[in-house]
Point group: C2
Chain length 355, copies 2
């Protein structure tokens, strides 16, 4: 079993974590290593749930914070093992999000008497369908382990707080026609031609940019797939445009769906996927205090993250982790060493330990 | 080896041919059976070229006519064996075009002293890419076997002459954009949205219907495929619309291509496939005489057929065969018995034999 040494600095520990390959649904080795590293620590109660590991302090503090990171990565793309070059650490998962995981593990071991109780969660399968997600499973089997006054998801956010997240939904917008031999096209109805109006509306779409708690979100409505066609000599009888709507967290899922249905009024619209956004929640005292403790800067989170899951459980949550989210899922993903160090330092201080 | 009995009536012979499965590139058995049935006939010179069989009279007549039919079919679709129901024969290939093949075989055997020399060609692989087509191969290896004063292709045409054929070409019309995460779509350019203008032009297309030699053709410009998309959360950087142009035979391939390029002016257009049309050629005496002999009625041929290949070799050609072309390639394909009988009777008479 690969070994993790939590006494190493967080950057070297990130490197160790990166070198344990852990593509979604192949997290056994990394979860075993994480569990083995945490299990001996007397100040923590450690439990295992599938390939998700939870470690909690129980000091009877007035407040509890959840600090969470996923252990899986997107597929390998010729970007392993980790490689350090000057101030950057390169490799799959360096940015998304083993730098954050390393910080979590360091805090778990070394902040033995935090000023607030902490639940550390290192979980499986964030990069694939929600049904496999370790937090989905944990919220079903042990919801008590996810509760707290505040949650920090260590998703890459340039080591600055990114608050809330936008929601996302997907619809299939469909046209139908009637097949005919293309040599006698007047006998049929071309469904691809009928999709012209769908694309015209998308082209004219004007994105809403609402300001919520002082943060400017930015919606987006995009065709992500289009398909149609039967054979090279046949008029197609169906065309499907798959559309992804990223919506600001002031809309509910139902409102977002209604917006899309109205937008494509007159077309056949089928909802295929939906996840709610999360309001920034910066008016909650625990969130406000955290933002102040880590420097006061806050950006809106455009992508969907598991903060929405915590918000759904009534736990205010923010993203705060090393790495540039624009690099996530890219072959050339990397993380600045300084981001890892800064996150660890700021979180240690916030938890009442010396830096 | 399956046996063909050319003394049976043409309808029963059609049934025998249908029951020898011969999907494109699997024509060995049917070609063997055809060759074995023709080889013993003293008045014919029989040659074999791949799975194409050629049988010629050589009586020194003043005129030579080519009568041709393909032996292959589109894939089986739960429509074998042949099934006779009243006045219809059902099954794969009954219409396209073993009814015509049966007539050819009957003429080859029983019209031993035709008033014009005849080259009968039963060929392979018409239903797939042109490179495999028996006539493509024959025109390369033995072009002399395809020459004549006139050619009849026994493609389904409701037992009425269908003259000329429309040309066909295919282009890929492409848009490009720039990938970005769909949560930050303003960082990229959506190639699918840009295809809106391509579809809008197709929707507004107004088909030309030129009258040539008294026959009204009918052009058609249709998207037959559309594709684009990278992942459910990524702005697509490419969208391709595959467009099929069916053009009347008064345009050359080059003119047709230019029309399409002008039509999609401003877009990236790549020609992927092209086949010329064939003018009806009804001013040629041999064609005129044939039309009169079989009843005087002539319709335009909208689909592309191998008549274009003969026209390209300088041999005027028409389509004349049993079956409704609208039923070709359909699961429920069938042929009226009366069509087969009428074609045989009219061709026998035209070749100077009693009916």
């Amino acid at each position: 079993m690969p070994h993790l040494d939590l006494d190493l600095d967080a950057v070297t520990l990130t490197e160790q974590l990166v070198n344990i390959e852990s593509v979604s649904q192949d997290e056994r080795a990394i979860a075993d290593a994480v569990e083995a590293a945490l299990r001996p620590l007397d100040h923590l109660t450690v439990t295992r749930h599938g390939h998700t590991v939870v470690a909690r302090t129980d000091l009877g503090r007035g407040e509890r914070v959840v600090i969470a990171g996923h252990l899986d990565t997107v597929p390998v793309n010729d970007n392993l093992p980790a490689r350090r070059e000057g101030d950057l650490l390169h490799g799959l998962g360096t940015c998304d999000m083993k730098g954050g995981d390393a910080v979590i593990l360091r805090l778990a071991k070394h902040v033995t008497e935090p000023n607030r109780d902490v639940t550390f969660i290192l979980y499986e399968a964030e990069e694939i369908d929600a049904e496999f997600n370790g937090l989905t499973k944990l919220s079903a089997s042990n919801p008590e382990l996810m509760t707290g006054d505040f949650a920090i998801l260590m998703e890459p956010s340039n080591a600055v707080v990114e608050a809330g997240c936008q929601g996302t939904l997907r619809v299939d917008v469909r046209t139908t026609g009637e097949r005919a031999h293309s040599a006698r096209s007047w006998k049929g109805v071309n469904a691809i031609h009928k999709a012209s109006g769908i694309l015209a509306r998308l082209e004219q779409y004007d994105a809403r940019r609402p300001v919520i708690d002082g943060l400017e979100y930015h919606e987006g409505l995009n065709a992500v797939f289009i398909r149609g066609g039967v054979a090279g000599n046949v008029l197609p009888d169906e065309c499907v445009v798959e559309v992804n709507f990223r919506f600001a967290p002031d809309r509910s899922e139902a409102e977002a769906e209604q917006f899309v249905r109205d937008f494509f009024d007159g077309y056949d619209v089928t909802l295929t996927d939906s996840a709610p956004g999360a309001l920034p929640g910066l008016d909650v005292p625990a969130a406000k205090a955290f933002v102040e403790a880590v420097g006061g800067e806050v950006n809106p989170k455009f992508g969907w993250t598991d903060v929405a899951r915590f918000t759904g459980l009534g736990v205010p949550a923010v993203n705060f982790g090393p790495g540039d989210p624009m690099l996530a899922h890219k072959q050339e993903e990397h993380v600045p060493v300084e981001h890892i160090e800064r996150c660890e330092r700021l979180l240690r201080t916030w938890l009442g330990a010396g830096s």
